[in-house]
Amino acid sequence: MIRELLFYSFSAIMILASLYLLFSKNPVKAAFAMFVVFFFTGLIYIILGLHFIGAVQIIIYAGAIMSLFIVALPAMSNVEDEQKKEEGIKTKSLFSYAIAFMLLATLIPLSLNSYRVVNPQSFNIKDFAMVLFSKYWLQIEIISMILLAAVAAAYMFLSVREEAK
């Protein structure tokens, strides 16, 4: 009961925050909205009984990825200022919103059809670890490769000096 209430309120906040992200023009404010979404996602996971995953969500998403974005913000300081003029709703953006709405309308019936009850105690860390390090060992190695490649690529991208003109 409380769980449901919390779930609905958290999800409402998340949706509002993402809508804010949709319409905002300021990257800083959008970053805050993003943080809200990530954080509350983690909270929802915790409500649903997945403590571990919720914690990992907050650590990785709201922690690491947000930091990435925060660090990237001042790196674009040489950018010219955006136009402050408020543009009206154009047909092109209306068309885009329509596409997104169509996507939503396509997917919603799926969610309406599932009636499985959630079992909060379904997460067992021991079983999880056993499966992770036995069956999904290859995927773990690949993941580490990906992360390594990401670091190396990021370093390579950002260490390119500007050629003297």
């Binding site: 990257p27 995953i53 790196a75 950018v79 990401a150 950002l158």
Partner: protein, 99 residues
């Protein structure tokens, strides 16, 4: 409380992320919407994980975390490079591919 609710939340977030991706005039915010989208996909997997007996879906969630982080890294690096080259992060202005 059923998995349908969680799935619906995931879909709504995903649609909003798609809309933001299409309409945003700031490339950085576009990338943020991409992260949101990945997050929404994550929530969907969680909903499936909640209704299954196995541990496999949980593992997928972890893999998604890692992938999202790697993707954010690369995306931001490229974004910084673009901002250095084109001096703007308005995607409408970067139209060298215009035919």
């Amino acid at each position: 409380m059923n998995a349908g609710n969680v799935l619906g939340l995931s879909f709504i977030l995903f649609s909003i992320s798609a809309a933001a991706f299409i309409t945003q005039k700031n490339l950085l915010i576009t990338l943020m919407s991409l992260e949101l989208g990945l997050n929404a996909a994550n929530i969907a997997i969680v909903s499936f994980a909640l209704t299954s007996n196995k541990s496999d879906p949980f593992i997928w969630i972890f893999l998604f975390f890692a992938v999202a982080a790697a993707e954010a890294t690369i995306g931001l690096s490229i974004l910084i490079m673009i901002s250095k080259k084109f001096k703007t992060i308005n995607p409408d202005k970067i139209s060298n591919l215009k035919g």
